[in-house]
Amino acid sequence: MINLLILPIIIPFVAAVILIFFKKDIVVQRWISIIAAAGGLAVSIILIRTVYNEGIQTVNLGSWEAPFGITLVSDMLSALLVTATSLITLCCILFSFRSIGKERESSFYYPVVQFLVVGVNGAFTTGDIFNMFVFFEVMLMSSYVLLVIGGTKIQLRESIKYILVNITSSALFVIAVAYLYSIVGTLNMAHISQRIAEVDQPAILTVLAVLFLIVFGLKGAIFPLFFWLPGAYYAPPAPIMALFGALLTKVGVYSILRTYTLFFYHDTGFTHELLTILSLITVVLGSIAAIAYKDMKKIVIYNIIIAIGVITYGIGAMNADALTGSVFYLIHDMLIKAVLFLLVGLIVFITGSTDYTKFSGLIKHYPLLGWSFFISVLALAGIPPLSGFVGKILIVSGGFSKGDLVGALIILMSSLFVLYSLMRVFINGFWGDPSGSMKKPELKIGSMLFPIIILVISSISYGVFSEWMNMYITQAVEVLIDPTVYIDAVLGNAQAP
């Protein structure tokens, strides 16, 4: 079907619109959201198979030919990311049933979650730089609502900061697109890439590359632009936090990955070096902050920042190994951050405290919860059979083969900090005499643990079957290394005027 790749955007959109009609009827809302999320997941898996068998899929919206209309492009990278997004959304919606509360559910929580997915999937799929901006806004508007929904004091305070930062960065995005348009005269990403290779103005393009790095760095939280993230992600309840931590920053990283491989490869000595340095500082600062706090939410939040640094380091290294590693690590990190936020949410639900020194012995009463937490911490740190290993080892080997000894070692060292920061939580919170975690008879966590188990299993199998995943990821990286594949798929053989 010609419109297959648009279905992951359309299904949540239609679901969101229908959900608006059922504001009061919470049961109907839950069913529609689940059906839509499951449908989105099924469609995106079909999409992966289609892209794998038939190459990059494109659709020219409104039947306007490639550089003139909006083109949606689904290569393997975006298909994989869309699938991960759909899986995470499904699990977060399942988790919301017990944890989000009637009041939020009856004030448009589920429609807004669906709109968030529209934005994220759209940003992953679009082939037009201004359309990407629009999908960024769809995503951000929904995230503003999700951040403030419920209206507690901390949420109101943090959403003001969050909205201010994001409005500024969106304005910068528009300015950057305007500059780009005035130089190359087109908005289609494949066509931009072609034109950039033709126009002989490396200096202004390098400026643009840095401007885009600032824009996407603000969305994706790299040093020195991550100042807004710890507060903003601390405020909302667990399922919303999981959606934010797993999806929002990763869209920024995807955009850096896309623009730095498709557009700005003419002066890698400056731009990619800058990206490498910034991401190393991000990793170091994130590591310091992750071990500085005793608050579980804060620890996981700073682990997001470390992971962002690791992925962008791989993009900065810009060789086949490092890019493969980045893609591996990007998908792994989406899954595992969703797991961790949901787990932290569940622990807070049981113990009523975000400080891990306030309780202990959780594993006596909640063994399954304890072992899921243990496995996901190991996966996050990158212990071999689990999912974080392949990505990180490839990024490190990419760093070494580029000759960047210090950088690669910093990436390796950061794993220790990651492991230490969360293993502390495991040792203090789960071991020892049960205190502050006494089993409350009315507290049944089975249905809340279920989505977590799904995500943990998919994360484990992502690591164990990485050889099998590698088929897909190799195909994704081919496009990143060689932009002509992308350009040919979008523009065809017809030479654009």
Partner: protein, 140 residues
């Protein structure tokens, strides 16, 4: 002391209809002249806001018994529906169709499915503007 705003209310009765007509004109002119769903929607909500100024929220809600949040959803359905039509004909999403249609009283018309999309924009704009204004107006 209750002020007597009979002049305002009388003028509003006439002017709001003129504004509504102008909004419709702007809406349908959109294809060939400046205008379209967005301005048309804003003008329509301008007319309703004038009613809100001259009367009060309850009176307007009684004479226009519309839940504007639903209006937004209906508008979005229109917009996405014109796109989904393309699934039936197996052409790329949002491909618009047009043609000459002969309708008994109006004669031959050049009709375009882009108008349906524009109706969606119109409804969404009216709905969101009115939702904002009514919510702020009702808030204590």
């Amino acid at each position: 002391m209750k002020t007597n705003d009979i002049i305002l209310q009388t003028v509003t009765k006439i002017v709001s209809f003129i504004i509504l007509m102008f909004a419709l004109h702007i809406f349908f002119a959109g294809h060939n002249n400046p205008g379209g769903g967005f301005v048309g929607g804003l003008l329509t909500s301008g007319a309703i806001v004038l009613l809100l100024l001259a009367y009060d929220i309850k009176t307007v809600a009684n004479s226009l018994p519309i839940d504007f949040k639903i209006t937004v959803a209906v508008g979005l359905l229109f917009a996405v529906g014109t796109g989904l039509g393309s699934f039936l004909f197996d052409v790329p999403f949002l491909t618009h169709a047009f043609g000459e249609l002969t309708i008994p009283i109006l004669g031959e018309l050049h009709l375009n499915t882009a108008v349906l999309f524009d109706i969606g924009v119109y409804l969404a704009v009216v709905g969101s503007t009115m939702t904002i204004i009514q919510t702020i107006g009702e808030g204590e």
